[in-house]
């Protein structure tokens, strides 16, 4: 099997995730895009793991760690979003601009 196939899939998922990250207004959709990017990385991790095929299983182990961290991230992210929603009544990411620098 070609190594480039999973790698191309990985790149595509990552790029699509980037697009979603940049374009989506709803914070939950942004989180989904992040998940897509993480999945892209995971695919390449697994593909390279199979390519090297060594006893450590480093790629697959890291993929599992990434999945775990993604779960934690979603948990925390949603908690923050809920807080945001409770405070502002909206989770539109381009409305959360409290850290902007007002023109002097």
């Amino acid at each position: 099997m070609h190594l480039s196939l999973p790698l191309l899939l990985s790149v595509s998922l990552f790029g699509i995730g980037v697009y979603g990250l940049l374009v989506r207004r709803n914070a939950i959709l942004v989180l989904m895009s992040v998940e897509l990017m993480l999945n892209g990385v995971n695919v390449s991790l697994v593909a390279f793991d199979v390519f090297w095929a060594e006893a450590l299983r480093a790629g697959q182990s890291l993929a599992i760690f990434v999945i775990t961290i993604a779960a934690a991230e979603i948990g925390l992210g949603l908690a923050i979003l809920l807080l945001l929603y409770r405070m502002r009544g909206s989770i539109a990411i381009d409305e959360a601009t409290d850290l902007r620098e007002d023109a002097a």
């Binding site: 480039s4 697009y19 989904m32 299983r57 697959q60 979603i74 807080l83």
Partner: protein
């Protein structure tokens, strides 16, 4: 196993390409659909297809983890999040921001650069997917023999994420 070009696929190649196409296409739907709940459902399809890809790549354990955690936990969490934030049901036009062009070019650039790199570096490299699948036994041995310390550190991370999420979500103290 000999070097072959991308244009002379084997059966495994075809299966993977199909699964990958499904994953990529549904991912596209995730970032473009105008219905927020549909996005979550397309995400299920995409992640599921990726799990299938893992299976083809003989990463059996990772595939089941993907299904369990992503499809079982993450997407459900996302749906809960939508519900709690009163996400609109049905199509809405304000899901996508105004900088669509910038985002498009940035993501295309990222994809192009990475894709060119990957094809340039590994265009004719073959991997062997005929071996024994990485079952739970194999991965367990690897994890608990070589990766115990990161694994335990990760459990602490999960715990603190859990505590943090609870602390943030408590209505009286979080706000």
């Amino acid at each position: 196993m000999s070097d072959r070009s991308l244009l002379s696929p084997t059966g495994v190649d075809v299966v993977f390409a199909l699964l990958g196409a499904v994953a990529a296409a549904s991912a596209l739907m995730v970032v473009t659909t105008r219905q927020i709940v549909h996005a979550a459902l397309w995400l299920v399809v995409s992640l599921g297809a990726v799990a299938g890809c893992y299976l083809v790549l003989t990463a059996e354990f990772v595939a089941w983890m993907q299904v369990l955690i992503y499809l079982g936990a993450v997407v459900v969490l996302l749906l809960f999040g939508m519900m709690l934030t009163r996400a609109p049901i049905g199509p809405s036009d304000d899901l996508t921001g105004t900088n669509r062009l910038v985002a498009f070019f940035a993501s295309v650039a990222v994809t192009a650069v990475l894709g060119v790199l990957v094809v340039d570096a590994f265009g004719s490299t073959m991997i062997d997917v005929s071996g024994e699948p990485s079952s739970a036994a194999v991965m367990g041995e690897a994890l608990f023999r070589y990766w115990v310390l990161p694994f335990e550190a990760l459990s602490v991370l999960l715990l603190s994420a859990l505590v943090g999420a609870i602390a943030l979500s408590k209505p009286d103290e979080g706000a």
